[in-house]
Symmetry: C2
Subunit: 229 residues, 2 copies
DNA sequence: GTCCTACGGATTGTATGCATGATACACTTT
DNA sequence: AAAGTGTATCATGCATACAATCCGTAGGAC
């Protein structure tokens, strides 16, 4: 197993080891390398990546705070199992929060905002269906821009956290990101915002999220997440 | 300065030292013992309370994640300064989220829920005005119960985070917690839920939060938070 | 007088050793 | 054979030592 880079000053982004371990661990949970139910032992991660337990410990705590792993006191942490109920709840919240954000965005948008939004949309439409990971990132950025347009930093923070919490299930909707309905919904949202129509913007956003909520719910029911233990 | 209790098995609630340090530190930030802008140095806290830096470090990280302190890389953490804008944004979100929660609570409440809610309200009304910290905790618990009644775990999580983020400004409304208007609003919320009237419940909750939003905004404008450095 | 550099102090970031608590399994007892 | 108990084992919780980094400051060059 390869080591975590230590004193590489050229890559300034993730400076501390703790940060690197956090990002890598998070990636493995989100992409499914670490299945739900698996125990994460500090010593194992530390020796596998040639770091000490301290930064691993910190990274694990952050994951617990993010809701990606659950900790048993004095026993360790394990990757959380996403229940259909939890996914449903999160999508319900996203509908409320992002619906409101879209409304506010329609009220406040200026021409440069709309321009940036159209650019993002064009970027999404241009992505080939063969790169689901890029699609997921682009979609997240698209939603992020709209929420940011609402001008409420705390709202942006919350929706980002919500997004991270269910990011793992987005993988099962990867084929849906490119179909005609999704594109139409994206365009409807953007046009409502561009037309400064708050009602239509909120309606379009809520419908968009509701569509995905139902798709995810149905597929999770058919084939639950793979689990270990 | 008194020590943090270590192996006292009689008090089982806050088991780990890290947890005790976290709760105590959080209390000091919320009650204003630690002013905005003050640097929190791990070593100082550790030696003052006779523990090692490790649990202090963990506690401080959790505070950072809660948004109560901000960290400069390799420099330390300091108590955050709350801007009026940020407070406004958070209260706006609370109005949306808790208003919705109250609506759902009114739809779903059974008799035992209502009973528990009334018990909490009685507890709040019985608290002496001389203990603002206890009041803040009790008020938080009250809101928490209502949100929990909505039956959306993710919603509970989010509102708890939001609450923690502005809990410090609640200190400047400590006299308001005990006045007649606040009590009346609390009772209005509970009665609307008890009567299974979703519309009234949401309206009452939004009005309650809006009232505090305005009080906090006005007072913050008059006299900004005390700062050090 | 101003700017650049090098050094020193202080604080966080990391590593490691030891203590504590929990669980699993085997052994005893009924 | 089943239930209860004791012990071995292992992972976390905590303490402490060491390394890396940042900021301020003093000193010198121009």
């Amino acid at each position: 197993m390869e080591e975590v880079s230590r004193n590489v000053k050229t890559q300034s982004a993730p400076k501390t080891i703790s940060q690197q371990v956090y990002e890598r661990l998070r990636d493995e949970v989100l992409t499914g390398s670490l299945h739900p139910g698996v125990w994460i032992r500090e010593h194992d991660i530390a020796s596998a990546w040639s770091v000490s337990r301290t930064p691993v410990r910190e990274a694990v705590r952050r994951l617990a705070h993010d809701g990606l792993v659950e900790s048993s006191p004095n026993r360790g942490v394990r990757v959380r199992v996403l229940t259909p109920q939890e996914v449903h709840d999160v999508y319900e919240l996203r509908e409320l929060l992002e619906g409101t954000a879209a409304r506010r965005a329609a009220e406040r948008a200026d021409t440069s905002d709309v321009e940036r939004l159209r650019a993002h949309l064009g970027h999404i439409d241009a992505l080939p269906a063969s790169e689901p990971a890029a699609h997921i990132r682009a979609d997240e950025a698209f939603h992020d821009v709209i929420v940011a347009m609402a001008g409420n930093e705390a709202l942006s923070d919350l929706t980002r956290r919500l997004y991270g919490r269910v990011a793992r299930v987005k993988v099962i909707t990867r084929d849906t990101n490119t179909n005609a309905q999704t594109r139409a919904q994206h365009h409807a949202i953007v046009e409502a915002i561009a037309a400064h129509d708050p009602e239509a913007a909120e309606r379009a956003m809520r419908e968009h999220i509701r569509t995905f909520k139902e798709i995810v719910a149905e597929r999770l029911q058919r084939e639950p997440e793979p689990q270990s233990d």
